[in-house]
């Protein structure tokens, strides 16, 4: 049985020589397939790959979400503060099926989804409004600095950006 190995371009096949041939000859899913299944289980709620201890994997999944929560809290301190000691749990619930896009975007996406549900903590409103005024973020690619003046109203906070300087004019 041959398995697909996405690492094997012709140059690599030459470089890895017999080792590569042995590796793909052992049957079973390829390394690429195994890795993809593992990442999907970890970040998208898919089932744990066969043979991996479920409780150990779950401990790793939860630890990863808590680590992500800490990283997002550093980028979005007011968002995290708005939840107090519930922050890690709230973030973990939100992030359980959302692979990380980096802590800046993760916090941004979570804040926007909270606004949409009317649940953004008031203390976090100015932080979001400031960033929305300063940056253009389309939700799918890295945020870019705005080059033109902008005004943002989020959950009762109002921020304006003129010439790159952001002013919060109103807080909820």
């Amino acid at each position: 049985m041959t398995t697909h190995n996405s690492a094997a371009d012709p140059a690599d096949a030459e470089a890895t020589g017999e080792g590569g041939a042995e590796a793909t000859g052992r049957g079973g899913p390829s390394l690429a397939a195994r890795q993809t299944a593992l990442v999907e289980a970890l970040t998208a709620g898919r089932s744990v790959p066969e043979g991996i201890d479920g409780s150990a994997f779950e401990a790793a999944r939860v630890a990863l979400l808590r680590k992500r929560a800490g990283e997002v809290a550093r980028q979005w301190p007011m968002l995290a503060a708005g939840f107090g000691n519930r922050w890690k749990r709230e973030f973990a619930t939100w992030a359980a099926t959302r692979p990380t896009q980096g802590s800046l975007r993760d916090g941004w996406d979570m804040a926007r989804s909270l606004v949409a549900r009317g649940e953004l903590p008031a203390v976090a409103a100015a932080e979001l409004a400031e960033r929305e005024a300063a940056w253009h973020y389309d939700g799918t690619t890295a945020p870019r600095s705005r080059r033109t003046p902008a005004l943002s109203i989020k959950a009762g906070a109002l921020a304006v950006q003129l010439g790159g300087r952001v002013h919060v004019l109103r807080r909820p």
């Binding site: 690599d12 080792g19 042995e22 890795q35 990442v39 991996i52 401990a59 790793a60 990863l64």
Partner: protein, 283 residues
């Protein structure tokens, strides 16, 4: 193994002794360490061009060796390492004038999705091939030795073909890389698997250790987590001594990544590493 041998780029570092992972939050503390001769910085946190953070520049100015430590190259990924990431990593190494660089034996993304964490590889020959191929690709852009760090993992893949020591040794032999031994990872893995950490120390090439990570962790629901946010426990320091009794590495460093304690506690941790390894204190 019928393959073109990798150019073995190892070198024996000067005995730097005890160092520390540079982080912006503790930059002032690190800058004030009088005996410091080496530090490590997360490569992805450094701009390849332009100014370095002030504290880091100050270390370089006084001759402290700073080693870039990559965390996002995903050298263990089945797919070839990303060219832009390699370019950045290589540029940072040049920017720091580093005598070597380091990364992990791990993968962090697959199928275009970021895991957000260092994930363990199956200990298979196919995984060895993937790491070796990616270290070679990295070596085309980086002119200094590459040290590879085996990670701490809370779970293992089934059906391993190799023991951990065999897996590490084969990767080093075939890639020509050096070993960045994280003694806290050795402790964590042995504790969680119910194995003897000394067994690993006795079966990996300690003469290829470029430097050593020492970090803290904590037990949670029966598993030991390598958190880097807790104090270094005594058993990890005892392992440092066991390691140094076998083959003392040229450098060992404290790795702390959050919940930074007050300066006296960091000093106590650095001094404990010095005592456990027999190197002079740097504080």
């Amino acid at each position: 193994m019928a393959e073109t041998p990798s150019p073995v780029r190892t070198k024996t570092l000067p005995s730097y002794g005890v160092g520390i992972g540079w982080r912006p939050e503790i930059a002032g503390y690190v800058e004030g360490l009088p005996g410091l001769r080496f530090a490590e910085v997360v490569a992805e946190s450094v701009h390849a061009h332009g100014d370095l953070p002030p504290g880091l520049q100050a270390l370089l100015d006084r001759g402290v060796t700073v080693i870039p430590h990559g965390v996002r190259l995903s050298l263990g990924g089945a797919e070839p390492v990303d060219g832009d990431r390699v370019e950045h990593f290589a540029a940072v190494a040049e920017r720091l004038n580093a005598p070597l660089v380091s990364e992990h034996i791990a993968f962090v993304r697959a199928g275009g999705v970021e895991a957000g964490h260092l994930l363990p590889l199956p200990r298979s020959r196919e995984a060895v091939d993937a790491v070796v191929a990616n270290v070679r690709r990295l070596g085309e852009s980086v002119s200094v030795p590459i040290a590879l760090e085996p990670i701490a993992a809370l779970f293992d893949w089934p059906d391993d073909e190799l023991t951990e020591a065999q897996f590490i040794t084969e990767i080093l032999d075939r890639s020509g890389a050096m070993l960045l031994l994280d003694i806290a990872n050795v402790y964590a893995n042995a504790r969680n698997r119910g194995t003897d950490p000394l067994d690993l120390l006795d079966h990996v090439p300690l003469d290829r250790v470029a430097y050593v990570h020492v970090a803290g962790g904590a037990e949670h629901e029966g598993l030991y987590h390598d958190t880097h946010t807790d104090a270094v426990p005594q058993p990890v320091l005892d392992l440092v001594t066991e390691l140094c009794d076998r083959h003392r590495p040229p450098a060992l460093m404290l790795e702390r990544d959050g919940d930074y304690p007050a300066a006296p506690e960091l000093t106590a941790e650095l001094d404990a590493i010095a005592k456990a390894s027999g190197y002079p204190t740097v504080t």
